[in-house]
Symmetry: C2
Subunit: 363 residues, 2 copies
C-alpha cells in the first residue's frame, strides 16, 4: 500500500509538471504572438499552427527528464526556473517534429494534419498561385525555424544563476548538434537503403537516446550544480533507456494501432525507415523474405496487403522478438543503473516510472 501511495503521489507530480510546462509554453507563445502580430496580421495562421503543434498532445518527456535530472541532483523541486528551462526543450522538439514531417513527407502528426500539410491545404483551399506543396514546405521550414530560435530564447530566460546557465548552455548546444547530425545520419541511411544494425543503432543513439534522455537529464543536473560523476551515472541510465524507448517507437511504427498512434498503419514501412527492427529482419531473412523486403519497403503506395506481408517477414525472421528482447534488456540495464545511482527517493521513483512509461506503451 505504501508503495502504491508513493507511486500515485509521484504520478500526480508528473501530471502537475506537464501542466506547468504547458502553462510556461502558453505564456511564452502569447508573448511571441504579440511580436508576430507586430510584423503583420498575415502571421495569424502561422501562430495558430504553432500553438496547436506545441500545445496539443505530447508526452513532455524531455522536460520531465530535465526536471527530474535537476531534482536528482538536489535542485529545489519548487524552483520555477527549472520549469522554464525544461519547457524550452519542447520548442526544440517542436522544430524536430515539424522539420521531420517535411523530410519524411508525413501528412499526419498525432492524428492531425502536420504543419506543412496544413499550409499546403490552406493554399489549395484559398486557390493561391504556385504549387501548394511548395508553400506548405516553405511554411513548415519557417515555423520550425521559429521553434528552433525560440528554444534558445526560453532557455536563456530561465533566470537561474548565470554561471550554471552558461555551463548548461554548452551541453544544450552539443545536444542540438548531435540531434541534427543524428537526423542527417538517418536520412542518409534511408537514402543508401542501408541495412546495417550498427548504423541503425548509431542513429538511435544520437537522434533519440542522447537527445531524449541523456542530455535533458544532464541539463537539469548541470543547472543544479551537479558534478561530473552524476552526469556519468545519468548517462549509464539514459543510453540503454533511450535506445529501448526508440526501439518501442519502431515496433509501434510497424505494428501500432493507428487509433492510438495517430499515424496510418505501417507508416514507417511505407517511408522505408531503416530501423533496427528492419535491419535485424534483413540480417536473418531467407532469399524469399529478402526479396519481399526489397520489393515493398519504402514503397509510398504500399497497401494493407503489403503492410501485412512485411509485418509477417519481420515476425517470421525473429526480428520482432529480438527487438522486444533488446527493449527488455535495455530497460533492465537502465533500472539497474538508476538503483546504483542512489538518487533522492522522489527523483528515483519518478525516473523509474518515466522509464516504464517510455518503454511499455501503445502510443
Amino acid at each position: 500500500v505504501t508503495a502504491t501511495l508513493a507511486q500515485a503521489d509521484t504520478q500526480l507530480t508528473t501530471v502537475d509538471l506537464r501542466e506547468q510546462v504547458g502553462a510556461v509554453l502558453d505564456a511564452f507563445l502569447t508573448g511571441q504572438a504579440a511580436v508576430l502580430r507586430g510584423v503583420g496580421h498575415e502571421l495569424e495562421p502561422a501562430m495558430n499552427a504553432l500553438r496547436e503543434a506545441l500545445m496539443v498532445g505530447g508526452k513532455r518527456l524531455r522536460p520531465a527528464f530535465c526536471y527530474w535530472g535537476w531534482c536528482g541532483a538536489g535542485g529545489d523541486p519548487r524552483e520555477p526556473g527549472i520549469v522554464l528551462a525544461a519547457a524550452s526543450l519542447e520548442l526544440l522538439h517542436g522544430c524536430a517534429l515539424i522539420h521531420d514531417d517535411i523530410m519524411d513527407g508525413s501528412d499526419l502528426r498525432r492524428g492531425l494534419p502536420s504543419v506543412h500539410r496544413r499550409f499546403a491545404d490552406l493554399h489549395d483551399a484559398k486557390g493561391w498561385s504556385g504549387p501548394g506543396e511548395a508553400f506548405g514546405t516553405a511554411s513548415g521550414i519557417l515555423l520550425g525555424d521559429l521553434c528552433l530560435s525560440w528554444c534558445d530564447e526560453l532557455f536563456d530566460a530561465c533566470g537561474l544563476p548565470a554561471g550554471r546557465v552558461a555551463a548548461a548552455k554548452t551541453l544544450f548546444h552539443q545536444m542540438r548538434t548531435e540531434l541534427i547530425a543524428g537526423q542527417y545520419l538517418d536520412i542518409f541511411e534511408q537514402a543508401v537503403g542501408g541495412s546495417s544494425v550498427e548504423r541503425a543503432r548509431r542513429v538511435i543513439r544520437y537522434k533519440t537516446a542522447k537527445y531524449t534522455v541523456e542530455r535533458p537529464l544532464q541539463l537539469g543536473a548541470v543547472l543544479a550544480g551537479a558534478d561530473r560523476a552524476l552526469l556519468d551515472r545519468y548517462t549509464a541510465f539514459a543510453l540503454p533507456l533511450g535506445e529501448a524507448f526508440q526501439l518501442r517507437d519502431d515496433v509501434l511504427g510497424v505494428f501500432g494501432d493507428p487509433a492510438r498512434t495517430g499515424k496510418p498503419a505501417g507508416d514507417d514501412l511505407r517511408e522505408g525507415k531503416r530501423t533496427v527492427l528492419v535491419a535485424l529482419a534483413y540480417r536473418a531473412a531467407s532469399s524469399g523474405q529478402r526479396a519481399d523486403l526489397e520489393r515493398w519497403l519504402g514503397d509510398p503506395a504500399l497497401d494493407s496487403a503489403g503492410v501485412e506481408r512485411l509485418r509477417a517477414v519481420i515476425v517470421e525472421t525473429g526480428a520482432l522478438e529480438r527487438v522486444e528482447r533488446l527493449i527488455a534488456r535495455g530497460t533492465r540495464s537502465a533500472m539497474r543503473a538508476l538503483l546504483e545511482t542512489g538518487l533522492p527517493p522522489g527523483a528515483g521513483r519518478a525516473l523509474s516510472l518515466l522509464a516504464t512509461a517510455a518503454t511499455d506503451r501503445a502510443a
Copy 2:
C-alpha cells in the same frame, strides 16, 4: 588627399575585419567538424557543404554593421569578443540563405550549386534510392538548422561581460523572430500574388532593413553598453539604408549581370518575387502591361524573350526610375541621420562607406 587617405585607411580596416570574421568562422567550423565526425564519417559531405556555404564569397555585411555599431558606441576596436559576436551573424545568415534557396527553388548561390541542389545531385550521382530532390531538401533543412543552432553557440561564446551579452541576446532573439516572420510574409505575398507596395515595403523592413542593418548595429551598441538614445539614432540611419539596400538587390535581381550576381538573368522574375519594383510596375501598368505581368511573372519556364518583355514593362511603367529615386532618397536620409549621430570619426567613416557599398553595387 587627406580624405582619400582616411578612406583608404578605413577600407583597409574593413578588409581586415572580413578576414578576422573569416578566421573566427574557420576555427568555429573546425571545432564543429570534430563533433560531427564523432557522430559518424557519413557527416563529411555535410560539413564540407557548410564550410563552402559559409566561407566562400559573402560580403560579411551584418558582422560589419555589428562591429561598427560597437565602435560607434565607444567599444574598443581591438576587442576580440566583438568579432566573435559579429561573426555569429554570418551563421544566422547561412541558415537564411540555405533555407531560402529551398523555399525559392534556387539552384544557384553565388554562382555555385545551392546546398539542397548539391545534395540532390550527390544522391543522383550515387544512384541512391528514393527521389534525389527529397534528399536534397532534407539535407538543406538540416544544414540550415545546424547554422541556426550554431549562431547561438558562437554568440554565447563571445566572452564579453555576461550582463551585456544577456541584454544583447534579447535583441538577438527579437531579430531572429522578425527575420523569420518577414520571410513568412514574403512567401505569403508571393502565394497570394499580391501587388501591394505597402506590403512589399513591410517585407523589406523585417526581412532586410532590421535584420541586415538595424539589429546588427544595435547588437554591437548594446554589447558596448550604449544607451537607448544611440540605439534610436542607429534606427534612424539603419531603416532607410536597409530599405535602399534591398531595393538595390531587387533591381539587380531583374537587371543584374549574371556574371556578377552569380544568378541566372531575371531569376527574381521567374520566381515571381513580389518586390516593390514589381508592385510599382503593377500600380502604373496599362491593361496591356498588366496582362504581360500576369502572364509571365512567376512562370518557372520564363525564357529570355519573356525576361526582356517584363524588363521592358518595369522600365516603361517608370517603376525602375521610381525605385532608383527611392534608393537615392533612402541613402541620403541614412547619411543625414549618420551625420546627426555624431559618431567617433572612424566609425562614422566606416558606416558611410558601408552605406555606399550596400546601395551602389553591381553584385
